[in-house]
Symmetry: C2
Subunit: 247 residues, 2 copies
C-alpha cells in the first residue's frame, strides 16, 4: 500500500510520500516513492507513485531514458519538456508505453495494471502546477478550490485535508497538515509507514526549499503524532454526552 499527497498553495508546493511497499503481508519493504528532477533555477519536478511497483519503476525508467516522439524524432524526457502540461503528457505516454508492453502479460496472470502518479513542480517563467495521472495516462490538475491531490490509501487522511487545507495556507502549515494526514493514514493502514519523504518548493524559486526524509523516532514528527492524539482525545471528551436519554 501507499499514501502520497500533493498540496499546491499560493506560496508553493508540498509533496509527501511514505516508503512502505508490500507484496502480500509477508513481504514488506522500503522503497522511495517520491522522485525529484531538479535543475536549480530552471525547473523542479517531483513524481510520487502508487500502485504496482514494477509498473511505476518501469514508467520512471522509461521517462529517464526518454521516449522518442514519432513525429519529431526528439527523445522526450521530463527535463527537456517545454511546459509542465507537456511533461504530464509525457508521463501519460510513458504509462501507455509500459501498458502496451507489459499489460497483456500482467493480465494473463490476473494482475491489474494498477499505477497512479502525482506530478508537481515548476518551470522558470511559468506557473507552478500539480497533476494526478491515472493508469490510462489521462490526468487531472489541482486547482485553488481543492488545493490538494492524493494517491494510494487516500481516505483516512482526507478529512483533515478537507477541514484545514485551503489555497492561502502558509507553506509550512500546509506541510504540517499533510503530515497529520499521513499520521492518520499510518494509524489505520499498516501498509503505509515510515520513513516519509517530504519535498517543499517555494513558488518561483525552481529549487527545493526542503528535501527531507522523516525517519522513525524523529522528534518533531513523534511530537506531532502525540499532540494530535492527545488533542483528539480531549476534543472527544469535551463533547457532552447525548441527551436523548437521561439515566
Amino acid at each position: 500500500m501507499t499514501y502520497c499527497c500533493g498540496i499546491l498553495v499560493k506560496d508553493g508546493l508540498v509533496m509527501i510520500a511514505d516508503t512502505r511497499t508490500n507484496a502480500g503481508l509477508d513481504n514488506v519493504s522500503t522503497f522511495r516513492k517520491l522522485h525529484i528532477f531538479n535543475q536549480p533555477g530552471d525547473r523542479i519536478m517531483a513524481i510520487a507513485s502508487a500502485g504496482n511497483l514494477a509498473i511505476s519503476q518501469s514508467v520512471l525508467s522509461t521517462l529517464s531514458e526518454g521516449l522518442e516522439n514519432p513525429e519529431t524524432g526528439e527523445i522526450e524526457t521530463l527535463l527537456n519538456a517545454p511546459t509542465m502540461f507537456q511533461a504530464a503528457k509525457r508521463i501519460g505516454r510513458a504509462i501507455r508505453h509500459v501498458s502496451s508492453t507489459e499489460g497483456k502479460a500482467l493480465q494473463a496472470e490476473d494482475i491489474s495494471f494498477d499505477v497512479s502518479f502525482l506530478f508537481g513542480g515548476q518551470i522558470a517563467g511559468a506557473k507552478m502546477r500539480l497533476f494526478m495521472i491515472y493508469p490510462a495516462g489521462n490526468f487531472i490538475e489541482c486547482t485553488v478550490d481543492t488545493p490538494y491531490l492524493q494517491i494510494g490509501e487516500h481516505k483516512y487522511g482526507k478529512p483533515v485535508l478537507d477541514r484545514a487545507m485551503h489555497y492561502d495556507v502558509e507553506l509550512y502549515e500546509a506541510l504540517k497538515t499533510g503530515l497529520i494526514s499521513m499520521d492518520s493514514t499510518m494509524r489505520s493502514n499498516i501498509g503505509v509507514g515510515l520513513p516519509i519523504d517530504v519535498l517543499v518548493v517555494r513558488a518561483d524559486v525552481c529549487d527545493a526549499d526542503l528535501n527531507h526524509r522523516i525517519e522513525a523516532g524523529e522528534p518533531y514528527f513523534h511530537d506531532l503524532r502525540s499532540r494530535w492524539s492527545a488533542a483528539l482525545r480531549a476534543a472527544h471528551q469535551n463533547i457532552p454526552r447525548p441527551p436523548y436519554k437521561q439515566d
Copy 2:
C-alpha cells in the same frame, strides 16, 4: 452509499445507521437501514444493512416470512431463533437463498451481489452479541479486543473508533463516539447522510433503551458536529510548525 456501525461494550449495544441510498448520483433517496425485531423482555435484535437495496430488502423480507428448514420443516425467523448465533446463521441462509434466486440474473446485468449486514442483540438468559455478515452468508463476531464492527463506507469513521473505543466505555459515551464517526463519514462522502437512526440497548434488559431518529438540524447532533470541527481546528493550530527549515 451507506455507513453503519455497531458497538458492543460492557454495558450494552449501540447501532447507528444513516438513511441515504443512491442509484447513481442523480437518484438519491431516504430508506431506513436499521431494522429492529423486539419482544420486550424476551429478545431484541437489530439488523443494519449496506449494499444493494433490492438485495438487502429481499433478505429482510425473506427473514420476516421465514425460511423452511429442510430437515425439521420448521419455518425459521429471527423471532423464533433459539440463540443469537442461530439467528445470525438464519440471516446467512436468507442471503444465500436470495443469492440463489437473484444472483444469476444480476450477474447477467453485471451487477455484483453486494450486501452486508450488522446483526446485534440479545435473547433473555444469553449474552449480548454483535455479528457482521458477508455476501456469502458467512460472518464474524465482535469481541472485546475491537468492540465495534462497520459496514459500508467504513474508512472515514474508523480512526475515531480506533482511538476512542474500548470495551469499558460507558454506553452513551459509545453512542457519542459512534456519532462522531458518523459525522466524519458524512463530511467526506455525500453518499452518507441524515437522518440517522440510532438504537441503544442496555445489557440484560432485552428492550430498547433508546430508539431514535436524528433529523437534520437536531440541536445536539448539530452541536456535536460544530464542537468536533472547532476542536479539530484548534488541535491543528496548536501543533507547532515543522522545524525542518527556518525562514
